[in-house]
Symmetry: D3
Subunit: 137 residues, 6 copies
């Protein structure tokens, strides 16, 4: 199921095909996954997202594998099945072990549980958590 055709190399515009080829090159595989083939109807958007991902997911103060764990957490809470599948695969490729995956799910499950409690009880935020007017200097 999809609401747009998944563009094959033949159907893709020259601009989109160029991104497909970059995907192949950077990842060292011939396979271009469905997300990019669906997004390819808007070659500019495809290119923008494709170029942004490595910038955001690059090593920084947060480790790339940790960034994948965060990505999975967001995708789970947002209930994006595609994203859960693709980023769980990506996390494994970057070294996520079964034990790490299990711990990740425990944190996601605990957070979902306490999120529901704080929301259902409508707990007011403690004044001490407010830093809106603190000077950053």
């Amino acid at each position: 199921m999809a609401v747009v055709p998944l563009l094959t190399d033949e159907d893709a515009s020259a601009e989109a095909l160029a991104v497909f080829n970059e995907i192949r090159e950077r990842r060292g595989t011939d396979y271009v996954n469905n997300f990019w083939r669906a997004l390819a109807h808007d070659a500019d958007h495809l290119k923008a997202i494709w170029e942004k991902v490595p910038t955001v997911m690059a090593p920084g103060e947060i480790d790339p594998l940790v960034k994948e764990l965060i990505y999975i957490a967001v995708s789970t809470a947002n209930n994006c099945g595609y994203c859960i599948h693709s980023h769980t695969a990506a996390a494994r490729a970057k070294g996520m072990t079964p034990s790490m995956h299990a711990e990740l799910l425990q944190v996601i499950a605990l957070a979902s549980q306490t999120n529901a409690l704080a929301t259902g009880l409508a707990v007011p935020v403690d004044d001490r958590f407010d830093v809106s007017s603190k000077s950053s200097k």
Copy 2:
């Protein structure tokens, strides 16, 4: 605003007060935050959550600070204002720097963006992401 009174030490049951005192002791502070005071109407639930949190958030294959980042990510996607406030404070207490916070938000924002695209395009999961029937041995 809250849908239940935030129980003071005086209003709390003996069981709930015992948890409040454990909170004070473990954290080395006299302050018991609103979440626990709201949850204290159900002393068993209060005790169960309070005892579960350190187990899940303890050091394991995933670092405690990383677990806090994941907690913030889930709370943001679930839109739990209380949880975002309390776990951003907790993450800072465990060493989250402003730069790490900024990177975290970049990953959350990127994931939210691509989640929306994968969902809005109804992208079918690639067969290669399916591991449901693979042997785990």
Copy 3:
């Protein structure tokens, strides 16, 4: 905060005021809560919602108090702070005890936790749960 003025009786149109007066009469109070005052900018919509609520929430095979518990559950999962507040008040008015409230929150918290696990693991629905093609006769 609100994105529209909360209409006073003076500001409301004749049609909206008529609904305000029905609210007062049916509930035996002079107070018209903010939801209706915000919705009053669209008197037709106000009237439609106001007339629909008692039909759906009326005694049927499901008890009115149980319907309020379900309403709170949906509002919590949807994170509608206003709705959580107003329907927790409504549930109390219909007999929800503190113990029932505590049990309700336990179910909501458990469901939120297992929802996150089923989603994060992308568990495929068991064939036996599918009843789409069963005859209803």
Copy 4:
């Protein structure tokens, strides 16, 4: 997969069948889609929803095609796969071009991204955005 049988014309009650026939007539097709067949277990609800849709989606100050774009946006944010599929088809039938679809997805993706940032940063609403107490006159 479904949690109820999709009622065939034979299985449907007389009241539900009458709605199916109205669907066929108004749309000029013999096909009744799954949503209505699933909802048909509650013929009153089926009839209420079926009669409400054209009222809300009718031309008004907002164009019917624009209303479909808004419907897709809500369905995407709510992650309703069925609704995304059916309303993307409906939008196309009302004139949505591939370029409009691409722009729609760009707006949805941008909003999802900034929603996450405003939520994750817990940005307080600026006083100037509050119009709750302004007179509407």
Copy 5:
């Protein structure tokens, strides 16, 4: 589709298999559904969830069938397809009739509609709904 293999009895650890056997015994069936087989990669988590469910869902001030209705409501609002399927089946097993199911869906649909209105209008919570500082004595 799933992001982990669904563990067969042969693939499961001794601890996980023990839980599978408890599931079989308590339910009087040989069938272990996919949720537990997916969760079994983390035998401790599997055991904790499995032991928690009957405690929360047990008869109390809220009837077990009502608890299932609440579970379905949360799962629907959270859009957990697996949970909707499994708990609709569970509710039926506990006595949910087609009419109760229809009423449940009407409440869920009404709550979703008014949640969207209260949220979209950003309706401020009425002071009278705030009970945060009321004494519970």
Copy 6:
């Protein structure tokens, strides 16, 4: 409340201040709203978002006012209070009348209602809505 200080002009870095000044210039106002002041801790992210917004929201095949309506719809479904406030204000500035606002809310409310029904019934997508393998040529 906020989890970061809202940066004043004095607290902001030179790069962030430059964006603040662009905001002032483009909007013809001295006021810089809280979203940008909160985001300013990450000047690169601030600049990227600020530059992306006008590109996505610019006139195209979809009218700028319509784009604001879509933005409100997404923000409502995502329950981003800040975004609902700021984009309702933006839509008004671009010409949204009270009647258009009322119609918008009707569509959002209807979509939320039918989203819940399609999800709660787990309605399978009709084959005819699937266009994943259709040629786009």
